[in-house]
């Protein structure tokens, strides 16, 4: 089908304006004076900015296109996104403030940095960096596919889609190089306003256009497609999958390098606690977007490609202006998270692979330049992989969450477990990855999310092996660990005093 010229013009104008704002956000030179300034904004962001930034991070083009397509083809399995994000935000209330405080005390900008200092292990830090970068590039490609699909629907017959995708990603890389984290933060404000306005408008108007009202849509869904409205109790993906997928994805969420980058921009631990309270608000949009997938199920001709469910629904329901605004929203939801993901991946590469292993004596100025330049490498790699080996990426994308969650014991357990050793953690992490990949490759999931098996093995191995290594760290003075656990000990002493 040919695109709509008005829609295409509106989409391109909005995207170009946003790119321009991305550049303006970084016109002050101090934004790129150090890695800490460039990647985490000098840790000066208050609760509102973090909320916008983490929201911009997590609600991506893939969220909207992926959830509607899952709802279209898999019904209520798509609802797993709700418990998943709610659990992620809830647990973040407890561990993010601790992690943030550590990151501020030691001036670090990545999770791998945290592991390096907490465990005194460059190898563990390297493993975490590798997992982070390896899982993030396919994730960037999901965004790439998102914008490509959007432009295909909007621009067929007018533009060379691939060429425009490459240009827009290059522009994003350029403004990220230039403005650092400020770029995606300020542009996220526009994206968030558009997301809220457009998604609420779609949810309010589409049921009325196609069914008369929300109520009659639900009536029709209940009578004609009840299978969409509950989680299947038979088949390969049922309730056990739903529960384990929610839990594992929830634990994994803040392990992603781009989410961690958002966290480290906070100016105080309290800002993160407030953020944990308000982040669930975003989910109002999510739950409604899932219903758009159900609308598409009834409105689109049978046999439509689920991947295009939302885009085709918009295209057949509205004129050029609304189409343009909606496509622009999805395009921004693809480009802005990419920018944050690129910062996360560049940071891991420059700090934890280049500096720690290749050139430990690098000067801060040079390291800053290398971190910034890595943005082009990361986005370039994503473009190349996405265009040259699209099918090889599918597995990595499916495994992304399951792979990322394997660093959870190394990052989060270690905030609470004083005697956790690097040896047990490293072996657990490796076993977890191997189990995840094996379960995935052989398809022996028993109806459970792959990452759950991996995480289970990981935790069991870590806990079981730890006693064998604990003598290496026990009774040895370690100022870093003493500082991390100082407060807990103080409280324990106070509690015993009270008891006595």
């Amino acid at each position: 089908m040919q695109g709509n010229l008005t829609a295409l013009l509106i989409t391109s104008t909005i995207v170009l304006v946003v790119v321009l704002i991305g550049f303006l956000a970084g016109r002050d030179k101090s934004n790129r004076s150090s890695v800490e300034e460039w990647s985490v904004g000098g840790r000066r962001f208050g609760p509102l900015l973090i909320w916008l930034l983490i929201g911009a991070d997590l609600y991506t083009a893939y969220t909207f296109l992926g959830l509607t397509s899952t709802a279209y083809s898999g019904g209520s399995l798509a609802l797993f996104a709700i418990p998943y994000t709610i659990i992620a935000f809830f647990i973040s209330f407890f561990f993010l403030p601790k992690l943030w405080k550590f990151s501020k005390d030691h001036k670090i900008t990545t999770l791998a940095d945290y592991a390096k200092i907490r465990f005194g292990s460059k190898f563990l830090s390297f493993l975490i960096a590798i997992v982070g970068v390896l899982m993030l590039i396919p994730y960037i490609d999901l965004q790439l596919a998102g914008i490509q699909d959007t432009l295909t629907v909007a621009g067929t017959g007018f533009i060379n889609v691939k060429f425009v995708v490459i240009v827009s990603f290059f522009l994003v890389a350029l403004y990220t190089f230039f403005s650092g984290i400020k770029g995606p933060t300020y542009t996220a404000i526009i994206k968030d306003i558009l997301v809220w306005v457009i998604m609420l408008f779609l949810v309010a108007s589409l049921p009325i256009m196609h069914f008369g009202s929300w109520g009659s849509m639900i009536d029709k869904l209940v009578v004609e497609s009840p299978q969409l409205l509950t989680i299947p109790t038979t088949g390969p993906k049922g309730i056990p999958w739903f529960l384990t997928a929610s839990l594992v994805s929830g634990l994994a969420l803040f392990m992603w390098a781009h989410a961690a980058t958002g966290v480290f921009t906070a100016k105080s631990a309290d800002a993160l606690r407030k953020n944990a309270i308000f982040l669930p608000l975003y989910n109002v949009v999510l739950i409604l977007v899932i219903f758009l997938g159900f609308v598409a199920f009834h409105v689109l001709p049978e046999g439509s490609d689920p991947r295009f469910a939302l885009l085709n629904l918009i295209q057949m329901s509205y004129g050029g202006v609304i189409q343009g605004l909606s496509f622009a929203t999805i395009a921004l939801a693809s480009l802005i998270p990419c920018s944050i993901m690129a910062i996360g991946a560049s940071n891991l590469f420059a700090n934890n692979i280049y500096r720690d292993l290749i050139n430990p004596k690098v000067t801060p100025a040079k390291l800053t330049m290398i971190t910034r330049s890595m943005v082009f490498v990361v986005i370039g790699l994503a473009l190349v992989f996405g265009m040259v080996f699209p099918s090889a990426l599918v597995s990595l994308q499916l495994l992304g969450v399951s792979g990322m969650v394997q660093i959870f014991p190394a990052i989060v357990f270690s905030l609470y477990w004083k005697n956790q050793t690097k040896e047990a953690t490293i072996i657990g992490l490796i076993v977890g990855l191997i189990v995840t990949f094996t379960v995935y490759a052989t398809g022996t999931t028993f109806g459970i999310y792959e990452g759950f098996w991996g995480l289970l093995a990981n935790v069991v191995v870590t806990v079981a092996l730890n006693p064998f290594f604990v003598k290496n760290i026990k009774n040895k003075a370690n100022p870093i660990i003493d500082q991390l656990f100082a407060k807990q000990q103080q409280r324990k002493i106070m509690a015993t005093k009270k008891g006595a």
Partner: protein, 67 residues
């Protein structure tokens, strides 16, 4: 009620609503506020969880265990 116990309870509640309860709420009827029951339940959890988080936040502040 003991503050510690209350915090413990509020920490467990979101997991109960969002995970443990799911097999029992996996149904269409009753339809509440135009949402099939499963969606309504998740919507409810989406409101209750931040409230739990907020109360824990206030309790911890009053305890002085966070600054």
């Amino acid at each position: 009620m003991n503050k510690k116990f209350l915090i413990y309870l509020l920490t467990v509640l979101p997991f109960v609503i969002m995970l443990v309860a799911i097999p029992f709420v996996n149904r269409i009827h009753p339809i509440i506020f135009g949402l099939p029951f499963l969606s309504f339940w998740l919507f409810l959890g989406m409101i209750i969880t931040p409230i739990c988080t907020y109360i824990i936040y206030r309790l911890q502040k009053s305890e002085g265990s966070i600054e």
